[in-house]
Amino acid sequence: MKPTNERRIETRIETTSMDALMVRLFDTIEESNMAWVIAADQALRHTFGPVLIDLVPSYTTLLVHYDCQQVNHTEALQLINKALSGLTPVDTQAGELHDIPVWYDESVGPELPLVAERAGISVDELIKQHCNHDYCVFALGFAPGYGFMGLVDEALATPRLKTPRRNVAAGSVGIADRQTAIYPLPSPGGWNILGRTNVPLFEHAKRGQPLFRPGDKVRFRAISRAEFEAGGGDTTPMEERP
């Protein structure tokens, strides 16, 4: 689907901290937001140049952290207005499509039965459905290289675990509500874990080159234990992890 210019955006700029302003483009999560968010990201980076300290895009917003030794609050507002005037959405087809191999197995994906049961389908059907969609990367956050992706089919949507796990293994692929994601690093977490990938997301992020960028698409592909192990995957069951 090629984005059109017909959708209007009404930008709001909000004070967020001493030296950060929030650019709010939308109020709801839609895949079609990304063409605008990415366009705004590019325009803000270009216009702020060395005045920019950090720019954190998310589902509906961009947080602009600027250097207040170079520009003051009012000048920063003017720079944002300049960057966003006449903004047109980017072509989201330009985002990369990533093929992510996943070993879906209860030993490394303990919530496979739970999510399948809630959806009223078999585990095999759940795996098929989870693989049968190109998920949009909405934002990076939570951990280096962690991509928030969606939107998961409503039937598969499952709320976070009541008690988060103390240690979710690196590579774990999970679902929370209508989102799906991969844990790049071992960390506490409350997502419903379906399987594990051997793709080293953290190593990419550590080099400053995350595998996923907002606007990219991700397609999961079920692989066997043998393929997972051959690709360097760690088969230690989730429960046995410290």
Binding site: E14, S17, M18, T60, F142, P144, G145, L185, S187
Partner: protein, 318 residues
Amino acid sequence: MSQVAMHQVQQGLMVKQTGPLALIQDAGRFGVGHLGVTQGGAADWISFRWANWLLGNALNSAALEIVMGGGLSFETESEVRLALAGADLDAQLNGKPLAPNSSFKLLPGQRLVFRQPRHGLRAYLAFPGGLNAPEVLGSRSCTAREQLGGLHEDGRPLKAGDRLTWKGSAPAVRRIAEGQGPRMPISGCHLPIVLGSQIASFNGRTLFQAFNQPWKVDNRADRMGVRLTGPALRGSLTGIISEGIPLGAVQVPPDGQPIVLMNDRQTIGGYPRLGALTPMACATLAQCLPGTEVWLTPVSASQAQDDYRQQLTAWHSR
């Protein structure tokens, strides 16, 4: 390259015993928030800068952030001048008390010990020219949760047996003038906060309470966030669509008890916020022991920036 390498061979500071937490920190990681990488950096950046200033270092040179003390001790392999700023952690040099906010000479055979907090929570120990540590994503700051930075490039805090080396050899000997330098917070201190847009979603009565009575610093406090306890803040929002989180953001989860998000915060998050503490207020809060009472005091972004620029001149005008 040889000069730095030679110093590494000649001199070192050995960690003899660890305390609760000691981390290599510099100013932090910038320009990487969009990768999901946290900012990190010295939590009390003002004391950190004073520590470096005392030795004539570049102000953001890598130094040690020492929390609590708790028996952390060092011995040196060769004579070295170090600088200490920030909290008074009852530091002793061979059993003799060391005044914070000054530099001192450490000789082989002497032992440097950090015992327990007397004023403040975090002390900064600076080294000639700054500590040697691998740079990851533009910083030497150590973030355990992200396995980034530090001595071994894996985010691990300092442990017994670690050997610290530094870049320089001839530090300046500077003294902080009377009335200048870091001030440790006392109960009843004010934390300037720039109010944010979600302020309008909070219930009026609880909002009044937020700014008209003190909050207590909870013991659930670390480099990610500091929880404040007091009357529960209520509002129309329980969660928002996740968005970028600036330093000092005061987020209010469903239990109504605010959490101030500090240097190691997640880059995006979904709780409504009152606003964000200024960087100076964050430095103050980083030194508050649990039980300290603090007031949230609204300030405009412009005023906060003026105060910030004023603070930065402290190190330029000498």
